[in-house]
Every structure is written in C-alpha cells, then in structure tokens.
C-alpha cells in the first residue's frame, strides 16, 4: 500500500456506477429516503423519471422499491444503514425475504454508514446490529466491502442477480485494497489477502485496512477479507482456515450475535475443528463515549495495539 492510492467514498463510487448503467439500461430505478451524496445530484437531475425520493420514510422506501422490483425493474433503495435495516426491518423481512422465496425480485438495499462510520454522531447512528439481523433472513445476500473496487464489481454482479441484497457501505473514504486483483469471486465471498501459517486474521469492511497493515508487518500472520457474509462458501473458506492454529475475527459490530465472529465460529464447529478462535468486536454495549473512530476502536480493543497484543499471545 502506498499513499498515492486514491481514497474514495464507497457510496460515490456506487452511485457513479449506477449512473453509468442507467444510461444504457432503462430497467434501473434509484429510490432514496431523502439521503444524498455529491454523486447523486447528477443522477437526480438526469433521470428524473427513475429517481424517487420518498422522504424520510424508510418503511415506504422498502415497500415502494418492492413494488417497482415486482414490475421487473432493478431497484437500488438508498438510506442511512441503521435506519434502513432497523426502522424498515419488517418491510425487509416480508418483501425481501419471505415474498421473494416465491416470486423473485431484483432489489438492492444500500445502507450507508456501517459499523462506527458515523463515529461522533453517537449510538443512534452507529450500526452494529445490521450484519447479524440481515444474515438471519433467508434469501438475503449480505455484502460488506472493504474497498471501493469491490463495490464497483459487486454492483455489476447485483444487476443480473434477481435476488434481494444488502450493501453495507462504509461512510468514510477508503483506499484501494483490490487494485491488482482480478479473480474476485462473489459466490465464494472472501479473499485471502495475506497468506500466513500460524495466526489468521479474518475481517470485514473498514477494519480490513487495519488488519492488512498488521498482517503485512508480522511474519506468520495471514488475512482473509470476508465481503459476502451470506451466502459464504464455507467449505472453501475452511480449506484456508484449517492451515492455521489460531483465528482472530475483527468486525465493527456486536460480537457473537450473528456477525462475522458467529459465521466463522459456525464454520469451525461444523468442521469439528480444534482451531482456537478469538472474536473481536463491540461487546454488547452501545458507545456513548464521544470520540473519533480510532478512539472508539481503542475502547473496544479494535485498535492496532490491541489486535497485535492478541496476536502476540499466540506467537510468543
């Protein structure tokens, strides 16, 4: 990684990609719950008949998007992540999980501000439950990217997949990780970014950047970035995990409640594995403490020093 790499905000990259696609494909609708982005202004102006702002009404966002999708349109429904996933949870359950099992639709829920993206906004805007509650739902795909190239590629994938998907986008600008990677496989849902042999970090989203820095610096430490948390190709993932004797999961989410830690724990259990597992994340407490993201990470042992300390316990 060098400092020259352009940092970009995932939502801007996604909206730019959607904009380009809308020019050539008139099946695409963009519906917003009064949530914007610099890149959205052009889309709103140029596609007045395929951009709908439903107002601050996430329940109606999901319902209206469902109606459009039932008529064969490819729909992107866009809102702040905690409000999209939690205010409209029953709408998502009914329309994006139950109903499509019988009558498939192409609906894509775009949540911006996953994890602790909105650090100083406080606990209403933190989004630590979304991966767990979206993973519970049958027929739902859960996408949690670490960089914006994944977002671009996954968007292309989503256009032709007639099934409900949740995009958990980070709110902050992030550098590239996958710049030179050309074998991304969303059916597998993960990528081994660093090969190691003793300790394997398994991370998702924003924290993959921190995990990457650590894995590159400490010999023997590997890194797997999981970007599709449902459905994930568990047997391929276990083929990688079984090379290690200690695994540390790292996520911006409540740990052991349906997120990344739970996914990995289940894979190890299903394989009767004796590999040791440590699950790092936010521990069953809402974060009222004011401070930037690094400060909140420190409070939850997600900072570099704490992760390295955890690794060293097993390397020494």
């Amino acid at each position: 990684m060098n400092t020259e790499q352009p940092k970009k905000v995932m939502r801007d990259v996604l909206i730019e990609a959607i904009y380009k696609k809308m020019r050539e494909d008139d099946r695409i609708f963009f519906v917003s719950a009064d949530f914007g982005a610099p890149a959205l202004d052009k889309l709103r102006a140029d596609f007045k008949d395929r951009f709908i702002n439903v107002g601050i009404a996430e329940q109606n966002l999901v319902n209206v998007a469902t109606g459009l999708a039932m008529e064969g349109f490819v729909v992107y429904a866009y809102a702040i992540a905690p409000f999209l996933t939690m205010r409209a949870y029953e709408q998502i359950r009914l329309n994006c999980s139950i109903s499509p099992q019988i009558r498939p639709i192409n609906i894509n829920l775009i949540g911006v501000g996953g994890g602790l993206s909105y650090d100083v906004a406080g606990p209403t805007h933190h989004c630590l439950e979304d991966i767990g509650i979206m993973r519970i739902l049958p027929n739902m795909t859960v996408f949690s990217p670490s960089d914006w190239k994944l977002v671009e590629n996954f968007f292309e994938y989503s256009v032709n997949e007639k099934s409900p998907m949740y995009f958990r986008l980070d709110g902050k600008s992030v550098p590239l990780i996958y710049e030179n990677v050309n074998d991304l496989d969303f059916k597998k849902g993960f990528y081994e970014l660093v090969k190691g042999d003793r300790v394997c970090l398994v991370s998702t989203g924003f924290l993959t950047h921190r995990a990457l820095k650590i894995a590159k610096e400490i010999p023997g430490v590997g890194l797997v970035d999981v970007f599709v948390l449902k459905p994930t190709d568990a047997s391929s993932l276990f083929d990688i995990l079984k090379k290690y004797d200690y695994i540390i999961t790292i996520e911006e989410g409540f740990t052991n409640n349906g997120g990344l830690g739970s996914l990995i724990s289940k894979i190890l259990r299903d394989n009767l594995s004796d590999i040791k597992l440590k699950t790092l994340g936010v521990n069953d407490t809402h974060a009222f403490d004011l401070g930037d993201r690094n400060y909140l990470h420190k409070l939850n042992n997600l900072d570099e020093e704490s992760i390295v300390k955890e690794i060293k316990k097993h390397l020494d």
Binding site: D49, M70, R103
Partner: protein, 279 residues
C-alpha cells in the same frame, strides 16, 4: 332506455347472487378451516364480487402475470378467504383445492400467500400493501401501461404508520392509476375503532392528502359496482379511495353483533345454521 335499465337491474341481481354464493362458500371454508378470519372475510364480499364478476378488474387466469392485468394487492390478507371461491370459480385453480384448505400439501392457508394463483403478494402482516402498490403504480406509469392498481385495506390497518407514508407519496405523485378500497367495517381486534383511535372524519383526512375520496354503503351492490367502475376509468391526476362502509361478519347474526368477532370461530353446527340463514 327501459331495456338498458332492465339489463342493468338483471346484472346487479346476477352480482347479488354471486355474493350470496361467495358468503356460503366462505362459511363452508371456515367449517373446514376454523382458524380462518371469518368476520373479516365477510365484510368485503361485495367488493370482491364486483371486481371479479363485474368486469372491473382485468385478469387472466391462464397467464397470471400478464402485463395487461390490473394488479390487485390485498393488504388485509387475513380477510381474503372469501376470495378463494371466486379465484377457483373464474379459473385460477381447480375448485377441488377448496376442499383441502389449511391441510398439509395445500396452498390455501388460513391467511393467503403469494403461492396462490391470483395473489400478487403475501400480506399476513399489515400496513405493507399500499406502499408496494405505490411502487407498482409508479412502475406502470413508467411503462405507459393502462393497467390499474387496486388495493384492499381494512380500517384498523390505518393505524399502521407505514400506510400514511404511502398515502403521502401517492398524493404527491398524483398516482391516478391507484385505487384504494377501505373495507370500513369499524371493528379492530379488541374494540370498535372509534373507541381505540377515532379516524373520523376519514374522507376529509384523505382529501387533505390530495386523494379523491368517496364513501359508500359497501354492501349495496349497485353502489359498490358503479363506484369501482367509475374510479377505474377516471383520470384526474389523483389517487382514489373508496371508503366502503361495511359490517364486520356481514350475514352471520352472531358475528355482526359481537365486537370481538375478529377472532371468533363458528362451530361446525353453527356454520350449517349460518348457511341456512344467509339471504
């Protein structure tokens, strides 16, 4: 003119006959599946009858997702058991299915779902249908389609906040291809709606949100038929709402007078008695 009136009166008599048959069949279904919401399924019989036998709703049982069909979203899903015999009668599925209701292997359940040919959506949960219908109405406008979107909702369902999100949107977007029918049977699960939160004046509330509102007697076949027929053809830049004033449990004496009729089941012998008393 006389011929026209005579034909019309004969047609209304035909619809009334169908409605009577639907009530009888609904009771028969309830006899087989006592968990069905009988009272809710009796207040909307004239509405279903007018839509399906009155030539108002465009549908094609041989091509259930035909582009030309009208979309009918039954938001008060639990109250649509009375639609089962109609769907069988007009050819969506075989009448023998009615005998298997709520048994293993059947797709006709106590509360309908979208496996049933003729049901667009699954609506056991309330407050979703109108928002989804708004999305469909916007999509049909984008396609320059002449098809309409009908929605059936109960008055108790109006307490769901998501309904009002959809009401606001439909008015703003001038969705004149959207027709909402409120089965205003005035009873929710625990009490008369007026004792829970009184929604009157309902028509005025909806008009304030830029809907065209009309209230009728929902058991008067002529009024139901003519209002729906007019609404289907009217293009006035406004979504339309028909407030059908109905009686919950209509046609069955022991339900009509019971505020707790929503979850009331009739015993087998009561079903037989009720069928005899239908008129």
């Amino acid at each position: 003119m006389n011929n026209f009136l005579k034909e019309k009166s004969e047609f209304i008599s035909f619809l009334k006959g169908k409605a009577l048959w639907v009530r009888k069949e609904t009771l028969e279904l309830h006899g087989r599946a006592p968990g069905t919401r009988l009272a809710s399924s009796l207040s909307d019989v004239e509405i279903f009858t007018a839509l399906y036998y009155g030539g108002i709703l465009k549908f094609d049982p041989k091509n259930i997702y035909s582009e030309d069909r009208d979309r009918f979203i039954i938001s008060k899903g639990h109250g649509a058991v009375s639609l089962y015999p109609i769907l069988a009668d007009v050819g969506f599925f075989d009448k023998s299915e009615l005998l298997k209701i709520s048994q293993p292997g059947s797709y006709l359940s106590d509360i309908p779902d979208n496996r049933i040919p003729g049901f667009e959506t699954i609506n056991g949960a309330l407050g979703h249908g109108l928002g989804v219908a708004c999305g469909i109405a916007l999509a049909l406008k984008k396609k320059n389609s002449d098809s309409k979107v009908f929605v059936l909702m109960g008055d108790g369902e109006l307490y769901e906040g998501s309904v009002w999100e959809a009401i606001m949107l439909a008015g703003e977007h001038k969705l004149d291809n959207l027709i909402l029918i409120i089965d205003n049977n005035k009873i929710s699960m625990l009490d008369y709606c007026k004792n829970i939160i009184d929604m009157e004046p309902l028509a005025e509330k909806l008009s304030a949100f830029r809907w065209k509102a009309k209230a009728i007697d929902g058991h008067n076949m002529t009024e139901v038929y003519e209002s729906l027929k007019d609404f289907r053809e009217e293009k006035n830049g406004m979504p339309k709402v028909l407030i059908a004033n109905t009686i919950k449990g209509k046609g069955v004496a022991q339900l009509e007078n019971d505020v707790l009729c929503h979850i009331k089941s009739l015993k087998k012998e009561e079903v037989g008695e009720a069928i005899k008393k239908l008129q």
